[in-house]
Point group: C2
Chain length 509, copies 2
Amino acid sequence: MLRTLVLTILLLPTTLFAQTTTQDKVRNYHRANEHKIVNEFLSLLSLPNIASDNPNIRKNAELILAMMKQRGLNPRLLEAQTPNTPPVVYGEWKTPGAQRTLILYAHYDGQPTDPKQWTGTLPWTPVFRSAATEAGGEILPTPGDGQPINPEWRIYARSASDDKAGVMAILTALDALKANSIALSSNIKFVFEGEEEAGSSHLGEIIKLNKDLLESDAWIICDGPVHQSGAKEVVFGARGDVNVDVTVYGAKRPLHSGHYGNWSPNPAMMLARLLATMKDDDGRVLINGWYSDVEPLGDAERRAIAEAPQYDEQLKTQLGIKRTEGGGKSLMELINVPSLNINGFASGDVGALARNVIPTSASVVLDLRLVRGNDVRRQVQRLIDHIQKQGYSVIDHNPTDTERSQYPLLAKVMARAGGYNAERTRMDLPLSINVIEAVQSTSKEKVVLLPTSGGSLPLSVITENLKTVTMSVPIANYDNNQHAENENIRLQNLWDGIETYAALMTMKQ
Amino acid sequence: MLRTLVLTILLLPTTLFAQTTTQDKVRNYHRANEHKIVNEFLSLLSLPNIASDNPNIRKNAELILAMMKQRGLNPRLLEAQTPNTPPVVYGEWKTPGAQRTLILYAHYDGQPTDPKQWTGTLPWTPVFRSAATEAGGEILPTPGDGQPINPEWRIYARSASDDKAGVMAILTALDALKANSIALSSNIKFVFEGEEEAGSSHLGEIIKLNKDLLESDAWIICDGPVHQSGAKEVVFGARGDVNVDVTVYGAKRPLHSGHYGNWSPNPAMMLARLLATMKDDDGRVLINGWYSDVEPLGDAERRAIAEAPQYDEQLKTQLGIKRTEGGGKSLMELINVPSLNINGFASGDVGALARNVIPTSASVVLDLRLVRGNDVRRQVQRLIDHIQKQGYSVIDHNPTDTERSQYPLLAKVMARAGGYNAERTRMDLPLSINVIEAVQSTSKEKVVLLPTSGGSLPLSVITENLKTVTMSVPIANYDNNQHAENENIRLQNLWDGIETYAALMTMKQ
C-alpha cells in the first residue's frame, strides 16, 4: 500500500505536467540505456559509408533496415532505377487517430575522407575521446557495461555527427517513447538517405517512384550542427549547392623549370591569377551578376537573424582567425548570400615530392552555395562567362592538340552532377509554430530560429516532387569537424537530440 | 700476305686522319659492345637514387665504385663530415706527360618522383620503348645479346638522362679509348656526386676536405640536355637556384564551406591572390628589384645567343602551347634573366577526395633561378619583402595561437637549404676554345655555344673553393622529361655522348 502511494506520488508530475514529464521519461530512458544506445551507434559507425562505395553503402542500408525491423517499423529499401546507387531506407509508425504525418529524415552516407589526415584514429574505427582533440581530448577505452559515460566525451568517426547521429537520435527517441508507453501525436515516416553527401543525385527519382508512400505534411530534417552558442535551432531553409571543377593547362609534358621556366606558361600561376579575379580582398565575389537575383529576406526572417545570439567574436578566437571576410558583416548575414569557396586546388607537388618543374595543369574544385532566387544553371553559367571574360576558351573535355594549337588559354570547366537550388519554408505556418514550440519545450535557452542554414540540403528535390514543406532540426555540436578529418559527436548532443525528436513525435496536433 | 695488306689498307685512315679515326674507333667500340654497355647501365638505373634515401643512395655509390675499380681508376668515396649524406665517388686516370688535369663531373642521384604518376613503367625498373611515349612509343622487351638495338629507342627510368647517362658516357668513353689503345691528352679525375638534385648541400664541404685531390685546370660537367634542335652544346655557365616554401593560413580546423564559407578566410584564395601579385599576365616578375642586379651579357655571349638555332616555334608545337611568357622574347634570351616558377601548390583536395570544406592552409613551392649578378639571399629577401608588402606577417614556423590572434595575414616563408648563385666562364680562354673544337670535331652540325644554361648546377660551390673554371658539355635528348615522371634517354644521345667525351679526353693540349 505504502509502495503504491509512493509510486503514485512519484508519477504525479507525469500527469500534471505532461510535457515536462515526457522529457524526463525520455531522459531517464537514455540514461538507463546509454551503453545499449552507444553500442548500436558504434556498430553503425564501423561501416564505411561513402555513397560511391556500393558494397559498403549497402551494408549500412542493411544494418539500418535490421535496426528498424527490430523496432517494428515495417522497413524496406527504396531503390532508384539506376543500379548500384544507394537506397533510401524507409520505415513507418502508424499512430491511431493521428491527423498529421511527419517524415523524419536523416542520411547515412558520409563525405569522402583521407584516413591519413586523421589524428590518431581512423574514419571507420569509432573511438571515444575525453574532449575535442583541439582541446587536448585523449583517446579513451570504449566504456564497458556499468562504467559511466561522461556526456562531455566525444565519439570520433566519419558520420558520427553527419549524419548517423541523426539516424540514432530519431530511432532512439521512438524507443524511449515506446518504453514509456507514451503515445505519439503524428504518423511518422522514416526516410534515411544514402547519397546526400554525393549531392542526392537519385533522391528525386526515388521520390517520384514512391509519391504515395512519401506523402506527408512536413519533412523534418535531422542534419547539421546546432548554433555555435550551443543553443538548439530550427532552420527553415537550406542553401543550394553545386561543385565545379576547373582545370587550366600548360605544356603537354612536365618541363624542367630552369630550361623552360618563364617562357612556357605555368598553369599553377595561370590558375592563381584566374582565381584572384573572382573575389576581392574582402571576399566579395567579383563575378558579374553573382548577387543580382537574390530574393530579399522578409521581416520575420530579419527579426530571427537579429535575435540570434551574436557569436562571431568567440568563434574567431576558437578558430584562430583575426580577420573575417564580408566587409564586417556577421556570419549569420553572410549565409543569406550566395558564396564561392575553394574546396581545394592542386598543381605539381609540394613538400618532399616537389620538383623543379613546370606542371602540365592546375586544378581547383569550387563550391557554389546558392540562396533563394538563385538558379544552379544560371550561377554556373555566370562562372563560365567570367572565365571566358579572362580570355579563356572554356571546354568540357581534356584539350585536343588542335585546341592547344588554336587557343592561348584553355580551361576545362565541369559542373558536378547533383547540384540543386535553395529552399525556404515560411516561419509563420501553424506547423512551423508547433515545431518551434516543441523544440523550445526541451530547452531552457531560447531556441535559435534561422531562415536558412549555411549548409545545403536537397530540399528542392523534395518540394519540387511532393506537396509538403521542410524544416531542419539539427542536433550535432557545431565543432564536429563535419566534412573534414576528425569528425566527432559530443555525447550530450546525442542525448539532447533524442529528447528533441521525442518532443517532435509528441508535439501539439 | 694478302690479308695483312688488306688490314693495312683498312687501318690506313687511322694514321692519316687521326681525329676522325678516334671517333670511328670509339663508334666501332660502342657498336660492338652495345649490349654490355646497356646491361651495365640498366643495373645502375635499377637502384633508387633519391639523395635523402641514404641506404639506397649508398648502393649507387658502391656500384659506381665497383665499376671504376674494374676500370683501374683507383676509386674511393669522398665523404662529408655530416653523417648519412651521399658521398662523392672519386677516381683518377693518370696520363704520362700530361700538362693538364680535367675533372669530369656527373651526378648519380635523381629528383624525387611519385611512381603513381609514371605511365606504364616505374622509376627504378628501367624499360625500353620504341620511341617517346608522347610519340606513341611502346614498351619493348629488353633486347637480348645479338638482337640489334635501334638507336632511336629510349630507356625509361629515373636518372636515365639526369644524370646516370653522364656517368655511363664518361666511363664508356674511357673504355673505348683504352680498348683501342688511344692515348689520352690530359690527366682525368672523375667526380660523381650523389646530392646534386638536393642542392649539393655537402659538395662544398667535400671539396674543402679534398682540396689537393681535386686540383684541376677545369671541371667539365656532363649534365642536362643538348639543344632542342638536337645539336651538341657547350655551356659556359649555369643559373643559380633556390627553392622557397610559402604557406598561408585560415582557421585552425577545416570548416564546413556552407556554414563558414565567405566569412572565415579561405587560405587557397589567399594564396592565389598573393601569387597573382608576383607576376603579370606576360610572366614578368613584379617583385621589386627582381631584375635590378643582373650583370649584362658581353659581346661574345650576345653573339653566341644570336647564332644559336631558333627553335621556339617548333618547341611550341611539340609542347602544345600557343602562347609563351616573356613579352615575345626567345627562350634563349629569357634564360639569361632571373625567374620565378611555381613548382607546385596544394590546399585541401581535388578530384574524388574533394570535400566542401575551407582548408586550414595553402602551400606553394617556388623555384627562383638566378643569373650572374644575383645573390641567393638578396633574391629571397626580395620575395619576403614583397609578401610583407601585401600585408602578410612573415614567420619561419607554424603560427602560434598568439600570432593567429594578433595578425590578420600570416605567411610561413622558408628558403630551402642548398641554394646557390649563378656562375659563368669566359668563352675566349684557350681551354674554352680547345673544348669547343673537340666537341665540334664529333659533329657535322654547328655546336651551339651558350653563355648559360637555363638549368642550375652548383658551379659556385666549385669556383668558390678551388682555382679552376667550369664548362658544361651535356649529352641528353632535350625531351627527356628530366625532373618529371617518365624520364628517359634516347640511345643515340648516349652513343653521341660517348664520342663527345672521348674527344674531350684526347683534345689538343
